[in-house]
C-alpha cells in the first residue's frame, strides 16, 4: 500500500484527458517497469461535462483500480476542480490551469498554478495539445517516471505527423514547473 501513488487528470470532455492518462500509465508501465492501471469516468457527452482519467502507480500489484486518496491532481476547468478535488490528500500536488481555475479548494496542498491552456494555444499554436503540456508538467513533478519515458509514450500514441508539435508541447509543459 505504501508505494501506491494516485494521479487524477480532470477537466472537460474533449480535452484529451483520457489519452493523457493512457500515455502516463503506459510510460510508467512499459518504460519504467512499475505497475500502472488507468481508468476513466465520463458522461455520455462527446464534449463538455466534467471528465476524469486516473492512473494508479505501484511497485506492488494494484487491486482497487480507482483513486481514493490522490497524490497528484490536475484540473483544467473550474467545474472539474469543484467536482474532483475532494479526494486530494493533504500535502498532495494540485496542478491547476491558471486561467480556468479561479477558486482553489481549501486545504493544504502544493499548488502549481500553470498557464497550461495558454501555452498550448499561444506557444505551440494548437489548443488540443493542452493535455500533452500538462503531461510535461506532471513528468517534472512525478518521481515515478522520467521525462524520456513520457516522451517515448507520447510518440507512441499521437497521430503521425504531429510528433514534433507534441514533443514541443511536452517540453514547454515540463519547463512550466521551476
Amino acid at each position: 500500500m505504501s508505494s501506491r501513488y494516485e494521479v487524477r487528470l480532470s477537466g472537460a470532455g474533449g480535452q484529451g484527458l483520457v489519452l493523457g492518462g493512457v500515455i502516463l500509465a503506459e510510460a510508467v508501465s512499459l518504460f519504467e517497469g512499475k505497475n500502472a492501471v488507468q481508468t476513466q469516468s465520463y458522461g455520455p457527452e462527446a464534449r463538455g461535462g466534467a471528465s476524469k482519467s486516473e492512473v494508479i502507480i505501484s511497485d506492488e500489484e494494484i487491486d482497487y483500480p480507482k483513486a481514493t486518496e490522490i497524490d497528484l491532481l490536475l484540473c483544467l476547468t473550474q467545474e472539474a476542480c469543484d467536482k474532483y478535488s475532494v479526494d486530494l490528500k493533504t500535502n498532495g500536488i494540485l496542478i491547476a490551469d491558471v486561467r480556468m481555475v479561479k477558486e482553489l479548494p481549501e486545504g493544504d496542498y502544493r499548488v502549481y498554478n500553470l498557464p497550461i491552456l495558454e501555452t498550448a494555444k499561444e506557444k505551440v499554436g494548437k489548443i488540443f495539445v493542452a493535455n500533452i503540456v500538462a503531461l510535461g508538467a506532471i513528468a517534472h513533478l512525478l518521481d515515478a517516471v522520467s521525462f524520456d519515458s513520457v516522451e517515448k509514450a507520447v510518440l507512441k500514441r499521437v497521430p503521425k505527423g504531429t510528433e514534433d508539435l507534441n514533443k514541443r508541447a511536452l517540453k514547454l509543459g515540463y519547463n512550466l514547473v521551476d
Binding site: 492501471v37 488507468q38 476513466q40 487491486d63
Partner: protein, 377 residues
C-alpha cells in the same frame, strides 16, 4: 519464447484473446461500454483472413454469428445490457441447435438504457436465465485485463468443445481499464476445436450421439447438408415432438455442462487461518474486495476470499467449503443482490449472508466493504 508486453484496455484484450483463440468472424452493433471490442476486430480481423460485419442491430448480430459458426468459423459478438436483452432469443436458438459462439457483455447500469457509461454487474441472472426454457448456461467473469484475455480464449475453447454458447461477463470498469499484459506466444495456450464428423456426408446425422454426448458438427459448405431448427429435433435435425426423444435431448443439453464442471468451473479461494468472515465476489468488485480484505487484516480482522471466475454453472462446492468454515459471508456486487441468492441456495443456511450493493454508477469502494466487515466482525 516469451510473450509480448502491451498496455491494453480490457476490451482490447478481449478482442486480442478472441483472435488468439481462432475467432475469424465478428458481428455486432456498437454500444457503450463494449464498442472497443468491435473497433479492434474491425481493424484486425481482415488482416488475418477473418470477417467483420456491423449489423443493423443486436438481434441480427447474434443471428449472424450463429450462421458464421455453422459454416465452421469461431464467432464472437460483443454488447452491453440493452443489446444483451436483444440477443436472448437467438441465444436460446444457439443453445438448442448446439452452435458454438461467444457473447461478450460489458455490463453497464440498467434496466433499459440505464447508465450507458456507468459500471454494473446486474446481468448475472440474465446470463443464466435470460433466454426462455431450460437451457445450459456458461458465464465467465474475469477481473483483470490479463484475465480478460485468457478467459476469452477459455470461452472459445469451452464453447467449441461442448457445442454451446459461452458468455463472457465483464463490466465498464475492467472493460475500459488499461493494464500491462503479456500476450502469450502462439501455442502456449491450448486451443480447442469443435468435434467434426468422421463419416462421409451421406451417413452424417447432425445430432448423432452414439459416440458421446457432444455430437460432431459439420461445416456448411463442406459437402454436408442438414437441417437446423429451433424446434426440438431428432438426430437428423428435423423437428419432432415425440416425448421419448424430447426429454432425453433436453437432459443431454444440460448434461453437456453438468458432466463437464471440471472443464468449466474456475475460482480462487484465499484462506486465512481461523477466519470467521468470508467474501464471495467477482469481476471488478473482486478487486475492491481484495483491497478491503488487506485493510481489514491491518486492523486484525481475518477474512477468507472466494473469487469466482466462472459464475455459471455456479461453483456451489466452493461456496459450501467457505460456509463450512466461516459464520458470515459478505457478497459485494454492483447490483441489488443477485449472486447472493445463488450463494444462499448453495450453502443452504450453513452461514449467514449479507450483501454490499451499489447501482449508482460508481464502483463499490474498498472502504464500503471494509465498513461491512467491521459491522459483522
Amino acid at each position: 519464447m516469451s510473450g509480448k508486453d502491451v498496455f491494453y484496455q480490457g476490451n482490447e484484450a478481449c478482442a486480442e484473446g478472441a483472435l488468439y483463440a481462432g475467432c475469424r468472424f465478428f458481428a455486432g452493433y456498437p454500444i457503450t461500454p463494449s464498442t472497443e471490442v468491435a473497433e479492434f476486430l474491425a481493424r484486425r480481423l481482415p488482416t488475418v483472413g477473418g470477417a467483420f460485419i456491423q449489423m443493423e442491430d443486436e438481434i441480427a448480430a447474434m443471428a449472424a454469428i450463429i450462421g458464421a459458426s455453422l459454416v465452421g468459423k469461431k464467432s464472437l459478438t460483443s454488447t452491453s445490457g440493452p443489446g444483451f436483452s436483444l440477443k436472448m432469443e437467438n441465444l436460446g436458438f444457439a443453445c438448442l441447435t448446439e452452435v458454438p459462439c461467444v457473447i461478450v457483455n460489458v455490463m453497464r447500469g440498467g434496466p433499459s438504457t440505464g447508465l450507458p457509461t456507468g459500471p454494473s454487474q446486474s446481468d448475472v441472472m440474465q446470463a443464466r436465465w435470460g433466454t426462455h426454457g431450460d437451457h445450459p448456461a456458461i458465464a465467465l467473469a474475469p477481473d483483470s485485463v490479463q484475465e480478460i484475455f485468457t478467459e476469452t480464449v477459455r470461452a472459445f475453447n469451452i464453447s467449441e468443445r461442448l457445442r454451446t454458447p459461452v458468455i463472457l461477463l465483464t463490466d465498464e470498469i475492467i472493460g475500459h481499464m488499461r493494464e500491462r499484459i503479456t500476450i502469450p506466444p502462439e501455442g502456449e495456450l491450448e486451443i480447442w476445436e469443435r468435434p467434426r464428423p468422421t463419416v462421409p456426408p451421406d451417413q452424417y446425422k447432425p445430432y448423432d450421439i452414439s459416440e458421446g454426448i457432444i455430437p460432431p458438427m459439420a461445416d456448411f459448405g463442406s459437402g454436408y447438408r442438414y437441417h437446423v431448427t429451433g424446434l426440438n429435433h431428432d438426430e437428423t435435425g428435423f423437428p419432432t415432438n415425440n416425448p421419448s426423444l424430447v426429454q432425453p435431448e433436453e437432459e443431454r443439453l444440460m448434461a453437456k455442462v453438468t458432466e463437464n464442471l471440471d472443464l468449466i468451473q474456475k475460482y480462487e479461494y484465499f484462506e486465512k487461518p481461523k477466519a470467521r468472515i468470508g467474501i464471495v465476489s467477482f469481476g471488478s468488485s473482486a478487486r475492491s474486495s481484495r483491497a478491503a480484505i488487506r485493510m481489514a487484516e491491518e486492523e486484525g480482522i481475518k477474512v477468507d476470499f472466494l473469487r469466482l471466475i466462472t459464475l455459471w454453472p455456479f461453483p456451489t462446492d466452493a461456496a459450501v467449503q467457505m460456509a463450512d468454515k466461516v459464520d458470515m459471508i459478505i457478497v459485494p456486487e454492483m447490483n441489488l443482490g443477485q449472486m447472493i441468492e445463488e450463494v444462499q441456495r448453495s450453502i443452504a443456511g450453513k452461514a449467514e449472508t449479507v450483501g454490499v450493493n451499489r447501482v449508482d454508477g460508481d464502483p463499490i469502494t474498498p472502504t464500503q466493504i471494509l465498513d461491512r466487515i467491521r459491522e459483522v466482525a
